[in-house]
């Protein structure tokens, strides 16, 4: 009623005003101005407000975006505004037709942001949430979600550790808090919790909202500890059937090459090394001469196993619909060929998003996504020395790849040069890169949401979503001369299927009481996932010609299966309260029960509360005039990380251990698999729990054209599940229990400037900065340090001290490199002292800290850490008429890299590193690089600090230049719009790191306790892409 009264009052006033103005006769003429309001995509904006400046008269646009308004005189100015758009003032002048293009509001306080189980307006957010629009995500042509997110949000670090096609990147939100388990954020796609992002088609994404602090992620309870990435796919757009096609193609190349000595340099140095050891030189003068004069040719093995990678990506989207039913369809086909020969990743996907009004009160969303992926050889990106690149670099250049008749050389016929090279240890690199396998995965994900307006301010959303995944891999081992003779050939197949189902009911109540605004939501959720797989391997194949397609041709050597199930039941309540649009409160409580744990450890409770004060709504700040937005936020929340599955809470008798672990030919030579106890674990395992405090300021000025966000947080994770190293006399390397505490404290800052924004020219720039300090607070049981159990050996075995390259130590950041600290090179005159260490001048002197002369496991210390001091990113977009330019830069400062590659290339068995050109010699005693080691090469038995390097870098990660063809031209050929573009990825890197790329890493992406070792990691590439997008 009140509203209606106001309306009448307003209209009365308006009429009065017009009458007054009219009677004054200031401007006798009134004229009718007609026009239209469109957005930057030329789509009409219905409901935009047109107000005549200085008056309260105006109109709104109709459903075609057209308006008509009466103005008096030529001095009138129209104020055109629409929610989420930049308001414009248009002088009328003599015109009678005014067409206005509204551009998106730089700050978009009215935009809605997904916060999990609902949305809120940006202005009402109380937690720390970062958002990326589809437009920003797709500014550069990306084929994966992670690539598009890179550098966009403060506090979200995205590292591309491998150049292998289809490889996921390492994503961390506000650091890492789990040592042995995943630190990957939780992905939620259209409400489907735990979605897979590697196969999503980026073109389908409408927006990404990243919940960073626990007051925001607490609604996901036991799965929210690593941050939550909410992905909303495209909502169908009502209107005529609209279709767009996009095609891109790109070529990629290695950004750098390994800096190696030439074959003759290497031979000469190895000879010197032999002479110093009193041995006969390995290479004869004639041999060296033959390589010098070209009679013999050195082999560039890396060149032989790599190629130019080519990728092709095609997408199609279509949308349309009427008031009752709207649809969005898309299809995508991606084919990426990697730079290591024979590696590829292919993806085909289709999506159908349908929305409709089933009745006046019931709305339906039905989204279905189907994707098929296939890949080959991409897991070989890790594994250090054993991977194709590692193997290629380390195969002696003196060896020829082919026999005279063109056949591959049998590696056992290569010359050992007097035992210098361990013939029999080298697979032929060209055999190593062959592939004989297929790996594919099919996934269907669907969600059906029904929203019911129950009246009386109640609404109910009932969602059911499910996903079915099927994996298949088949392969037949390829014979080679070294590891797999013909008799060892096996064929195998592996099938897996998994289903995930989530049901949730969300009941909302929303109402206004005076200045108070209240929204209460109650959530019930149940989810269940089951996986099954089965694998079979056969040997002694009757024929190899059927590959792995007919296993009945061989004798079974192994059949295995696996099964697991997890259920979770949850209750969540959330309250959003605001008073006078100034004071905001969000509080939530989630209870999760997980079947993974024993009944007494099942239930966890995850509360959160956050307060915000929109200071800019206070009169005294409004009066300042230049503050567009100022909001202070304070939040607390508790979240968890489920980390483990049912199997992990039991010490199992394991029948499925690796080869040579529990097999024995007990009777008549028949090898049988036995059972043995697997690693022990605490049966009372439960989730890791994170508590986080967050304080933040949102600030904007110049009408929102310049905005900034600052957040500080303090996060502590307790009950971190660690596989603590235990003495090996226990029979096991580790014991798993919830004992450690880890903190992450940090600051994030982002600034966005909408520097120029007019019809002809727009210029945006943004910068963000994040610093996170990770610290091990406690390791439980009075333990000061642990070693990471089951470290990836990266092809290097038998390091002194049980193979550990890392230590997790109280008071330090997770994942510190652990080894001997190189002090300096032994100098002339110190022969006697050096001899005690079996060393000589020119070799490295390491810190001997245990008081016993000689290097031992007790002399190891922390020699570096992979975690950076801070990360930053800078991005800018310029658009002038049809031309748009997008530049994205990222930087990282203070992280260290263990350059295992260089270590191995410098070892006495290889002597390939080009640094040897500048080595220490008696004549060059000031050199910083060692002489060829002839005693004990400690770098073969220890991680040594001379290979710890500063991994700081600044990268221009992408430049994209696009051109949208002029409308009139496009119209002539009956097209909606045409954009062509060219893009370069990984354009420029400024770094002191001496390896191929400071982002490249060989350590597993899901681990932070072991990070930052570069051991011949799959080389990152520079990709140049060209594309065209046509809309009909």
């Amino acid at each position: 009623m009140k509203l209606i009264r106001n309306f009448y009052l307003g209209r009365t006033l308006l009429v009065l005003l017009i009458m007054v103005l009219y009677s004054l006769g200031l401007s006798a003429q009134t004229k009718t101005v007609r026009g239209s309001v469109v957005d930057d995509q030329k789509s009409p904006i219905p409901g935009a407000s047109i107000l005549i400046k200085g008056t309260s008269s105006g109109t709104i646009t109709d459903d075609k975006g057209n308006f008509q308004v009466q103005v008096s005189g030529n001095n009138a100015v129209l104020i055109v505004s629409f929610m989420g758009m930049e308001t414009q003032q248009v002088p009328v002048g003599t015109k009678t037709q005014i067409n206005v293009t509204l551009l998106p509001n730089a700050i978009g306080l009215q935009e809605v942001v997904a916060v999990g189980y609902g949305v809120v307006k940006k202005k009402d957010i109380t937690g720390s949430v970062g958002s990326i629009s589809s437009e920003k995500l797709l500014a550069a042509p990306v084929t994966s979600l992670d690539a598009g997110m890179k550098g966009k949000i403060a506090g979200v670090s995205i590292q591309q550790t491998s150049g292998a096609p289809g490889q996921e990147m390492k994503i961390r939100i506000r650091g890492a808090s789990s040592i042995n388990y995943s630190n990957n954020p939780l992905y939620v796609i259209d409400g489907f919790i735990g979605a897979d992002i590697s196969s999503i088609n980026p073109n389908d994404i409408a927006s990404i909202d990243i919940l960073k602090d626990a007051s925001a992620t607490a609604v996901y309870g036991s799965r929210g500890a690593n941050g939550v990435v909410l992905i909303t796919t495209n909502t169908p757009k009502k209107g005529n059937f609209k279709i767009s096609l996009e095609a891109t193609t790109g070529v990629s190349n290695m950004t750098n090459k390994y800096d190696l000595l030439s074959a003759t340099e290497q031979m000469e140095l190895m000879n010197l090394q032999d002479i110093a050891q009193g041995k006969t030189p390995a290479f004869s003068a004639e041999e060296i001469q033959a390589f010098k004069d070209g009679t013999k040719k050195a082999t560039d093995w890396v060149d032989l196993v790599t190629r130019q990678g080519i990728s092709k990506n095609y997408s199609l989207t279509a949308t349309g619909g009427n008031d009752q039913l709207q649809y969005y369809f898309s299809a995508n086909n991606l084919d990426e060929q990697g730079i290591v020969e024979n590696t590829f990743y292919k993806r085909s996907s289709i999506r159908s998003n349908i929305t409709g009004n089933l009745s006046k009160r019931v709305k339906m969303v039905f989204n279905t996504f189907g994707v098929h992926t296939s890949e080959q050889g991409n897991t070989q990106g890790t594994g250090g020395l054993n991977n194709p690149i590692g193997q290629a670099v380390n195969t002696p250049q003196m060896w020829a790849p082919y026999e005279a008749n063109g056949e591959l050389k049998n590696p056992r016929t290569w010359e050992s040069y007097g035992g210098t090279f361990l013939v029999g240890n080298y697979q032929h690199p060209l055999q190593k890169i062959r592939q004989n396998q297929e790996n594919m995965s099919d996934r269907l994900t669907s969600n059906l949401d029904l929203s019911v307006d129950l009246g009386h301010n109640f609404s109910l959303v009932v969602s059911n979503s499910g996903s079915f995944t099927s994996n298949y891999s088949g392969n037949r081992t390829l014979e080679d001369y070294i590891t797999t003779p013909v008799a060892n050939i096996t064929a195998s197949q592996n099938y897996g299927r998994s289903t995930n189902f989530i049901h949730s009911d969300v009941l909302n109540y929303e109402n206004k009481f005076g200045k108070s605004n209240l929204k209460v939501s109650g959530v019930y959720e149940y989810s269940k996932s089951i996986y099954r797989n089965m694998s079979g391997t056969v040997g002694t194949l009757a024929t190899l010609s059927n590959e792995w397609y007919n296993l009945s041709l061989g004798k079974p050597t192994n059949v295995g299966s696996n099964y697991g199930q997890g259920e979770m039941r949850s209750y969540m309540g959330r309250l959003n309260y605001s008073y006078a649009d100034k004071y905001l409160l969000t509080a939530s409580m989630r209870a999760d029960g997980a079947s993974n744990f024993l009944p007494e450890n099942r239930w966890g409770y995850f509360p959160s509360a956050a307060l915000a004060w929109r200071a800019s709504e206070e009169g005294f700040i409004k009066d300042l005039g230049w503050v567009y937005n100022l909001k202070l936020r304070l939040g607390f929340g508790a979240t968890g990380n489920v980390a483990v599955s049912t199997k992990d809470i039991f010490q199992q008798l394991n029948a499925a251990q690796g080869p040579n672990e529990s097999n024995y030919p007990m009777i008549n030579g028949a090898i049988v698999n036995g059972v043995r106890p697997a690693a022990p674990t605490d049966p009372n395992l439960t989730w890791e729990e994170t508590k986080q405090y967050n304080a933040g300021i949102d600030y904007a000025m110049f009408g929102g054209r310049l905005s900034a966000v600052l957040d500080v947080y303090d996060k502590i994770t307790d009950g971190v599940i660690i596989a603590t190293s235990i003495p090996r006399y226990t029979g096991f390397p580790s014991y798993t229990s919830n004992v450690a505490s880890i903190s992450n404290k940090g600051i994030e800052f982002a600034i966005t400037g909408n520097i120029i924004n007019n019809k002809q020219f727009t210029w945006d720039a943004n910068f963000n900065f994040s610093k996170n300090i990770n610290k091990i607070e406690d390791l439980g049981n009075g333990v000061d340090q642990i070693f990471v159990a089951n470290e990836n050996p990266l092809g290097v075995w038998n390091l002194v001290g049980g193979g550990s390259k890392y230590v997790v130590r109280k008071g330090e950041s997770m994942g510190a490199f652990y080894g001997l600290k190189a002090e300096r090179l032994w100098q002339l005159g110190e022969e006697a002292e050096a001899k005690k260490y079996n060393s000589k001048p020119g070799e490295w002197k390491y810190a001997d800290i245990d008081g016993v002369v000689g290097y031992s496991a007790q002399d190891r210390q922390i020699i570096g850490n992979a975690s950076p001091d801070f990360n930053y990113a800078f991005g800018t977009t310029l658009a002038y008429k049809g031309i748009d330019l997008n530049i994205q830069c990222v930087g990282s400062v203070g992280g260290q890299i263990y350059n295992f590659t260089k270590n191995i290339l410098s070892q006495q068995a290889f002597i390939q590193n080009a640094d040897y050109r500048n080595r220490w010699t008696p004549e060059n005693p000031n050199a910083t690089f060692q002489t060829m080691p002839v005693g004990n090469d400690y770098s073969m038995q220890y991680v040594v600090s001379q290979y710890v390097e500063d991994g700081s870098y600044f990268k221009v990660s992408n430049i994209t230049l696009g051109y949208t063809l002029p409308n009139d031209l496009v119209k002539k050929v009956k097209l909606g719009s045409v954009r062509i573009y060219a893009s370069a990825n990984n354009v420029l890197t400024i770094t002191n790191y001496s390896g191929l790329d400071p982002e490249g890493s060989s350590t597993p992406n899901n681990s932070d306790a072991q990070a930052g070792i570069d051991a011949f990691s799959y080389p990152l590439t520079r990709t140049i892409t060209g594309g065209i997008k046509v809309t009909f």
């Binding site: 129950l454 096996t490 079947s595 672990e661 022990p680 003495p727 550990s804």
Partner: protein, 527 residues
């Protein structure tokens, strides 16, 4: 209005919540989880656990990692450079607690011991439900392995932690050497009592389980080590004599005519092989191959013989089969593929190489399987060892004639009448080694002379075999320093061997340090 709400709620809730979300309790789904408490249901569940234990020991003995403990003896050596530091440490008497190879066998032995402990506890709970003899025979296999491994650990590391239950104790102290040996004896006695194997009556049966005879032999070996340093309990010579005599009197086991029979895959289940770690080169993932042979010995030259040792290697068939030196490669025709395969390495490493384990790894020769994987079992107790233990016990007890008899058996078999070719040896009459052979027989002398001769025989008979008999002899008789004295203070050029960095008379160097990380993780292990 109410009815409408009911309609709208009712439809989706009934349609989905009840259908899919259920209201039953969350289920701890353990359908694929195998735990000890529910596993041992009947007698057929015992054997897979025994196989698991033997499999783990096989993995610990498939390569020569354990030799890194014994390299201080005068038989084998290695070189600086390359990745040989783990084997060279003990050879240079510069042992560290960071030896990567020591860590490998230490870890594997303890893993197997824990497998035994877990099995003994889990299966013992079924006493009364499973036939007693069946259960005890299965348990006896676990006791045998545990006893044998504790013996091996004690003689390498001296005092060691000694868990006897699957319960994890993170603050355990080391158990003194003598007590670990006592545990080994107690375990082996259980094994001796309860083991039942077809090989107790027919040694040619291809069955990898331990036997009563094997338990007796390892008991004798344990007693013999106790007679010397550091316990010097010489009264145990009686026990050595009794146990070895029992085996001899039993008569099931004796010597093969062909010394090579115990090292070549098809003939290893024979009357001489009392216990071996069985290997079979299977197909992935059912693999249990041996890497004790070609890989580390031939291609990589991880270890090879000291010149002094090789130069005094008694001539005969055993030498031809066991060792290849420069002279051998120079004087044999290129058609001798076995010698040819070693030639390049003999030249490169400038040392004679151990060839006795190379069966099946040299292309072109019969039995070839693979260049660094073979199906050759890894001998852990041969009758020749029982004979030599018996001979020494006799000598120690003053019965020189009886001792010389058994020493001569071993010497004659090794010499094989001076033959060089396997075919010729196989053509010799059955048990030819029981016939006197003046060219090789013990010349006679005092008990001490006989003991010297036995030790010398042991030095060559067991070259490179698992268990390090030569090192154990030097250790128990405190001869480590004497046999290495020739290298002290000498250059590489003078001895042809690597520098002696430490002092071989320093008794601290006689024991392998347990891995340093063990002490880091449990400071109570510090000594």
């Amino acid at each position: 209005m109410k009815s409408k709400i009911l309609k709208y709620i009712g439809l989706p809730i009934v349609g989905s919540a009840f259908l899919f979300a259920g209201c039953n309790d969350l289920e701890l789904d353990t359908k694929a989880v195998v735990v000890s408490d529910t596993y041992y249901t009947d007698a057929s569940t015992l054997e897979p656990a025994i196989i698991g234990i033997y499999g783990r020991v096989q993995r610990a003995t498939w390569a020569i990692d354990n030799l890194s403990s014994y390299m201080g003896a005068d038989d084998l050596t290695s070189r600086t450079g390359s990745n040989k530091a783990p084997v060279l440490e003990a050879d240079q008497f510069a042992r560290t607690d960071g030896n990567g190879w020591v860590t490998v066998f230490y870890n594997d032995y303890y893993t197997a011991i824990m497998d035994c402990n877990s099995f003994i506890e889990g299966a013992s709970k079924r006493a009364g439900f499973i036939d007693e003899a069946t259960l005890n025979n299965a348990l006896a296999n676990a006791y045998f392995i545990r006893g044998m491994l504790y013996f091996r650990l004690a003689v390498a590391f001296k005092n060691v932690p000694m868990p006897l239950s699957p319960k994890i104790d993170l603050t355990m102290k080391r158990t003194p050497y003598r007590n670990v040996m006592a545990q080994a004896i107690s375990d082996l006695k259980y094994a001796e009592k309860w083991l039942v194997s077809p090989r107790d009556t027919d040694p040619t049966k291809k069955d990898g389980h331990a036997t009563k005879i094997a338990a007796k032999a390892f008991l004798a070996k344990t007693y013999m080590q106790l007679t010397g340093y550091p316990t010097n309990e010489t009264t145990y010579w009686d026990s050595v004599k009794i146990k070895t005599k029992e085996i001899i009197d039993n008569g099931t086991y004796s010597l093969m005519n062909d010394f090579a029979a115990c090292f070549e895959n098809p003939t290893q289940f024979n009357k001489e092989m009392i216990f071996s770690h069985v290997c079979e080169k299977g197909i992935f993932p059912l693999q249990a191959e041996s890497r004790y042979y070609g890989y580390k010995w031939c291609d990589w030259g991880d270890t090879y013989m000291e010149h002094k040792y090789y130069n005094s290697f008694p001539a005969g068939y055993r030498r031809t089969f066991s060792a290849i030196g420069a002279a051998d490669t120079a004087n044999t025709p290129a058609t001798d593929l076995r010698t040819k395969a070693f030639k390049v390495w003999v030249k490169d490493y400038k040392h004679p190489l151990v060839s006795k384990f190379s069966y099946g790894t040299i292309k072109g020769l019969p039995g070839f399987e693979h260049v660094w994987q073979s199906s050759n079992d890894c001998p852990a107790m041969r009758t020749s060892e029982v004979y030599l233990m018996y001979a020494e016990a006799c000598a120690r007890k003053g019965d020189v004639a009886e001792g010389a008899k058994y020493l001569n058996y071993v010497k004659r078999r090794a010499y094989a009448q001076g033959l060089k070719k396997q075919a010729d040896v196989l053509a010799l009459p059955n048990d030819f080694w029981k016939t006197d052979d003046a060219t090789i027989d013990f010349a006679g002398g005092s008990a001490d002379d006989l003991i010297e001769a036995i030790l010398s025989e042991r030095k060559y008979e067991f070259l490179g075999e698992i268990g390090g008999n030569r090192w154990l002899d030097l250790l128990r008789l405190e001869k480590v320093g004497d046999v290495n004295a020739y290298r002290i203070g000498k250059t590489v050029a003078e001895t042809g061997e690597e520098l002696m960095l430490g002092d071989p008379y320093d008794k601290k160097q006689w024991w392998t340090p347990i891995p340093g990380t063990e002490i880091t993780l449990n400071p109570n292990l510090a000594e």
